[in-house]
């Protein structure tokens, strides 16, 4: 059996295309890793063995026939279990949705990865209906952090981040409403991209809050993240918020460096929201770029408040029928918030939407003078599973709620955010957010590539 665990996306695809390893061998090795590790990590909720081997064999046949097998030929990946996979019920972390009929076709992003030669090996765990930051799922159990199995993987795309961090797959897909890519990427120590709202199709995903749900990838290097992001781009008429915009590949941008890029650090009271080790780690990464200015995200606390209200309203509306008739079948962590959100007065929701519009204008103005903003991705490293409160400075905070302190104000605005794992040998992972102006994902990629080359970022495979 071949060993591809430590290889990146491009190396695997190159090896498969050259014939030095077959896609079938890669798939078999991946499935063996999952079988060995999933018992202790609880990342995967379904492993698509038959499909994976069929896709891999099709790749091998294409190569043998001299056809182009695609830029991701033979690369294994997993998807959060809210993505439609043809022939499977899309459970979205819930018990109720197990009753759904099997999906008639794959989600749009799965179709894109398939056409690029990637091989789907399974679906992974998440918070129920993506409404959480911890992947402590009452129905499927908690996903465990590969760097310390007693700790949270983060959420809601916790299975995706953990599977990548553990080296089970080199890439995975997740979604983000208030930080569901940034938070697990930070706690598991991998790269994650929440692109600009409207950039990547959400067709075939179970939405939480339709007006700001995003889909995005996880990977263990900047170049891997870029490769998959490039494969995922493109307008999709089946997603009503998908923007008709040219594909803007970032792989070819990675070597451009950051000369002339105006970089700043978010000084939005980070020292009061985050532990000192997090603030210090971000400062170290910022130092890679030389002297940088500091900026404040206007009204960050109100941005969280608005995000919380809009998310609650849109999510509770989506599940309203089941809240009335089957509330006892929800995960309690989700149920109580959804029930409460169903009662939110319209005036609050509309004010939140108008505030978002105002804040977007403020942020665009801020990006007139900077190109990239660095911030902590999470206020602390992974807390123990089940921990209700965490001390930040002298303050006791609600662990599950406070995890999104930095991501939620940004996700709700739709600006692109790349989460990058800061190099901290021997310590639990913490991520840095690299926030760019709308449609400027390439700036974040270039900065991440510089910091990675300088060894200030790293996503080593967790030893489990």
């Amino acid at each position: 059996m071949t060993t591809t665990e430590a290889l990146g996306v491009s190396a695997i695809a190159a090896a498969v295309r050259s014939g030095s390893v077959t896609a079938s061998e890669v798939a078999q090795a991946t499935l063996a890793r999952i079988a060995a590790a999933n018992v202790s990590l609880n990342c995967f909720t379904a492993v698509t063995v038959t499909r994976a081997m069929a896709e891999a064999e099709a790749i091998d046949a294409a190569i043998q026939a001299g056809r182009d097998a695609g830029p991701l030929a033979g690369v294994s990946y997993a998807v959060k279990n809210l993505f439609d996979v043809k022939g499977m019920a899309t459970v979205a972390g819930s018990r109720i949705d197990k009753e759904r009929l099997p999906a008639l076709r794959d989600a749009a992003l799965i179709r894109r990865l398939a056409s690029s030669g990637a091989v789907l090996v399974g679906t992974v765990n998440m918070d129920e209906y993506a409404m959480g930051y911890t992947t402590e799922n009452a129905h499927y159990g908690p996903t465990r952090n590969p760097h310390d199995r007693n700790r949270m993987a983060g959420g809601s795309s916790g299975g995706s981040a953990a599977a990548v961090a553990a080296g089970l797959v080199p890439l995975a897909l997740g979604t983000d409403t208030g930080g569901s890519i940034g938070v697990p990427a930070s706690l598991c120590g991998v790269y994650g991209l929440k692109p600009t709202f409207g950039r990547l199709s959400r067709d075939g995903t179970r939405l939480l809050a339709a007006s700001f749900d995003h889909a995005g990838p996880f990977a263990r290097s900047v170049s891997d993240l870029a490769a998959v992001y490039d494969a995922l781009q493109g307008h999709d008429p089946d997603d009503p918020v998908s923007v008709r915009r040219d594909v803007e590949p970032v792989t070819r941008e990675l070597a451009k460096g950051v000369e002339g890029v105006r970089i700043a650090v978010w000084d939005g009271g980070a020292e009061t929201l985050a532990t000192p080790e997090v603030v210090e780690a971000v400062a170290k990464v910022a130092a890679v770029f030389g002297p940088v200015r500091t900026v404040s995200l206007p009204q960050a606390a109100r941005a969280r408040a608005a995000a919380m209200i809009i998310t609650g309203c849109e999510a509770s509306n989506s599940h309203f029928s089941n809240l009335r008739t089957r509330a006892n079948e929800f995960d309690p962590l989700t149920r109580d918030r959804l029930l409460a959100a169903a009662m939110i007065p319209a005036a609050w929701n509309i004010q939140a939407h108008r505030f978002r519009r105002w804040l977007r204008a403020q942020m665009l103005e801020l990006f007139d003078s900077v190109d990239l903003i660095l911030a902590p991705a999470t206020p602390f490293s992974a807390p123990p599973i089940g921990q209700m409160s965490t001390t930040v400075g002298d303050v006791e905070v609600h662990t599950r709620r406070h995890i999104g302190a930095f991501t939620q104000p940004l996700s709700f605005l739709g600006f692109p955010v790349l989460t990058a794992p800061m190099a901290r040998p021997g310590q639990l992972p913490i991520g840095a957010l690299m926030i760019a102006a709308p449609w400027r994902e390439s700036i974040a990629f270039r900065a991440a590539a510089v910091a990675e080359a300088a060894r200030f970022l790293a996503a080593p495979i967790a030893r489990i």
């Binding site: 008709r244 149920r335 029930l339 959100a341 939110i344 939140a352």
Partner: protein, 83 residues
């Protein structure tokens, strides 16, 4: 668009002082919406609604100018329009 320096959104002032009892509101809203609240999770729902209320209080105090429209989701406009 910018925030006004004028008064807060109508109805927002002193919101926390004048709010009715949250538990009563939750019970009445649940009845109106035909939602059954099990006694086992009633207090958790009240706590969650209190969090939403606190968030709303912060928001409603903020003076967003009257000409600031909510960002559109539904649109018949140019698909090149980002939002």
């Amino acid at each position: 668009m910018a925030a006004t320096d004028g008064p807060a959104h109508a109805g927002a002032s002193a919101a926390s002082d004048s709010l009715p009892d949250v538990a009563s509101f939750v019970d009445q809203a649940a009845a109106l919406l035909e939602i059954q609240l099990d006694s086992a999770w009633h207090s958790s729902v009240v706590a969650a609604f209190t969090s939403y209320r606190d968030a709303a209080t912060l928001l409603m105090e903020f003076p967003v100018a009257v000409d600031v429209e909510q960002a559109s989701v539904y649109t018949l406009g140019d698909p090149n329009d980002d939002h």
